[in-house]
Amino acid sequence: MNALLAVAQIKGPHLDWAGLSPLIALLGGAVTVLLLGLLRNRLVRRICVPLLTMLVLAAAAGLSIWRWHHAATLVSGALRVDDLSLLLGLVAIAAAAACVLLSLRAAAPAVAGEGEYHALLLSTVSGMVVLLAAQNFVTLFLGFELLSIPLYVLCGSELRRRGSLESGLKYLIVGSVGSATLLYGLALIYGATGSTDFSGVAAALSSGSLASDPLLLTGVALTAAGLCFKCSVAPFHQWTPDVYQGAPTPITAFQAVATKAAAFGIFLRLFDGALINAQPSWGPILAALAAITIIVGNVGALGQSSLKRMLAYSSVAQAGYMLGGVLVSTRLGLQATVFYLAIYLFMNMAAFAVIVARERETGEGDDIAGMVGLGSSRPLLAWPMTLAMLSLAGIPATAGFIGKVYLIDALVDGGYAWLAVVLVVGSMISLAYYLRVVAAMWMRPSAGVAGARPIMAGGSAEAPTATRLSGLEVSVVAALFGAATLVFGIVPSPLLSLARDAGKALTGIF
């Protein structure tokens, strides 16, 4: 018996339960939600499961706020919970909460099963939290996959709609290539530096001439490509429009915001942390990628009539802007990127919420035709959409303007003024498609709602056609995030100070 006990005393790492608490809440919540979803009672499934999910998210958010300013390295240096990971984690949690609200009457959870749907959502968020805090390659990849796999399923969760299934499958296949690339890259870096820890990699790079080692640089190239894939940076963006368009709209909204926050978070940690000493090597190529991304995203969005597709290309362009903040490797760039990720939540969520509402109210799906005359018929939906579009375009008095100013400031300060010019030109092009939406809402008379056929949420043709109004919660999400877009455009200082705190998390940059 004693011998058995001695064997059982495995030497485990010290666990800082407080630091891990947001993650534990999310993972525990996922399991509980899954179990709760097994109950066959309709009330439980329809009401209690989303409610519990919201509670779990609220708990995670509360715990994250509790850990604010308590930076800690956890699990033998595998994770680091600091203001950077907490802030971006909060962005992901907020996006998930909005997604739950938008899904309340959507087709996807009903078809896929409420418990599964919400449990997958919580798993994805926990993957993001892990990824954001990752301090070595193993946790990085663990978080990356924990983020990705539930998301593949969620994209295909509207089982009876071909578009959704296609989206999920495409995401899975192309995503696997991306993951493989990333893993290969991480392995090569390990091979070159002999360390899987970020700190070990940084130490290896700071001493000696490793910075121009072919093995390392190939590894960096593959890693960058893998992360660029997740951030939808061109030329690795191809999946984005198809997946965004096909996925259930609440999921599209969630992944547009949260995946970006998580992927850029780890981009910042890895490239501006561990690989900072190789910046002269990877800076220029990332700048080239950013420029291509800005052009491809903005140009590609021009001819789109599907709003989800348009926003997908727009998100490609915005990824290009944010990549600019990463590649300058300065504290200013870091803050600008974090700030932009935070406001990206507001403007995208507002826009997607309006799309969800219009999908349910009209038979137009997410086509821009569904927006015609919205200004006069549904001003409470038209205003958030207008604010979101203006903010994405970077018009003053919206948060997007401040975000762009910060990014441009960081680029010029970091010696990439030419990329700032590309950013501005890209924004100019982007006006063409953002303002098209605004014009459709305000400047064209409503074509008569009588002609539109009301159909089931998500545009599922198989579902029984029944008149459904979009519901209060969707309008609330749209109004809330639209208002935030405006408020943080006028009073940006609270958010700026949060971004500044998050910017202090990385120590190797100036």
Partner: protein, 669 residues
Amino acid sequence: MSATTFGWLILLCPLLGTVVIALAWRWLPGASAGWIATLAIALSFGLSVAALIALLGRHPAHRELSSTLWSYASSVGLDAKLQILVDPLSVFMALVVSGVSTLIHLYSVAYMASDRGYRRYFAYLNYFVFSMLLLVEAANFLLLIVGWAFVGAASYLLISFWYRRRTATAAGIKAFVVNVVGDVGLVLGTYFIFKHLGTLDFLKVFAGVKDAFAPNQGDLVAGCVLLLVGAFAKSAQIPLHTWLPDAMEGPTPVSALIHATTMVTAGVYLIARMHPLFEHAPAAQDVGAIIGCLTLLIAGTIGLAVTDLKRVIAYSTMSQIGYMIMGVSVGAYAAGLFHLMTHAFFKALLFMAAGSLIGAMAGEQSLDRMGGFRKAMPFTYVCFIFGGLALSGVPPFSGFFSKDEVLLLTANQGGWHWILYVGGYLGALLTALYTWRMIFRAFHGEPVPEALELERGTIAHGHPFNPATGEQEDTDVGFPGPEHHTAERAASMRIAMAVLAALALLGGLIQIPHFDNAISNFLRPAFADSSLYDQSPSDTLLVVGLVLGALLGVLGILIAYRVWVQRPGTAERVRRRLAPVHRLFVEKWYFDELYDIVFVRSGAAIGRFAQLSFERVVVNGVLVGGSAGLVRAGSAAVRALQDGLVRVYAALLVFGVAAVALYFLLQSS
């Protein structure tokens, strides 16, 4: 509460008024919108008085208070703050602006009663007052520019208030364009100062100006002259004055509020506020003084010749602001601001009385068609007399004290300033002449049919028409309403005018040389760093000036009486003998024609040429066509790659990875 709290609340009241009326206009019955607006401004005035009391309770050395509500962006290299400065100067301006505005709102409640755009009118009017108060309370250049531009926008909205009237919209556009020229000047001037001092905060700029610039240094002079461009555009000084007479297309209370008492004095305020800059750049001061003197003379001569009642008063306004600009440009800050205050009283009074008279004429504004209203409109007549006496500078009316003080301090500068001094007194004679020409032509002589009708108890009601062109109109929204109002019949108009008449009579008494210097004592803390503030000119000069001013005023009235009342044909004879001069005055010294040739026509010619040669070929063909084609082709290419096949995506991904990896490998070797 501290003075700065009052400062914020002063701004809040009109803003709330605007928002409430603009959002809830549908549910505001009858005249309630007008009363809400009036109440908002009256509250602002009360709060200004409270700020005054709070300020007076402090030690004179601590009367410059600045307060920041929030920072918009302080880390992008400049300190953009929502920040107000409460000091004697801004409180003085707030008192004048909100006080006169309250009376004009009160007047408008009756005057605009039948207009279909009644509620829109008061929303605009409150918005204007908010902008003007923002302008005078701003504590940094950024907020000043915001207020400056807001005021211009409000002015545009109100000039074009009757938006179906072609002449009104044209006048609004003209005013806006000229004002934007001024805005550009202000922004560029700010840039010159920001470039050297690195801050936009007034107090920091004023404290640092002596270290950052040598006296009369090129950049400072350039900055100050550019600020002057802004001041000239807002204050209708030559050469940016042409919009003001046209702005009389707006409703008469608007002319009284914006184009006589508040917005047009913004330039005077700006120079007084920027006095540390201007005193460090005397060259710019000289520009201001000369332009002010030129304006007061030229505007005075035009005022003698034009026959449109409101335009006579408009040119008079230009001329009087010339005095103020001259005053603050030679360091006579208290005198210039004192004149600003008294002018606000008597000019608002004159405009209100003119509105009443125009009401009696059913919209007609031409002096040629007026006459003999003395018996029909006794109250309006008395108001005109009060305003006219104050404007001509007859003791003991308010204009007497303020104008002479400006001129006295101008002479005290010595040298070529004596020319300005003489010009100023020449202008005083002109002022008395054109003012009393207007009064005698409108109120004396044979009564016109409208006057007789009014004596019988009915207001003339013809077909509605445009007074400038005679075009037929209707009375729906976008045109003036069907009813006309005179002070004799509307109590609220009468109250507003009576208060102003009393102020026109007594307003000058608060600053009598050697007796009480209330205004200069109150303003002294704001000008503590000025070397020109406390000048003591000789008493001889003072007495000579006062006597001369009074004599010239009375002389002008007497000449006017002889020419237009005793011998009615005299004016015609003079006009015939001096035909070219008269023509010059009637055509407003050909400024409009000059601008038409220099800017409009030559601009249009260049534009046509550029369109034919450059635009069609280079811009439309190569740039627009080319770039649009490029973007379109790019868009097509991006979409062509996006064919939905996963294998293509994967292939592209691999190619991308290969390209990136290749780059890195090339780097390493």
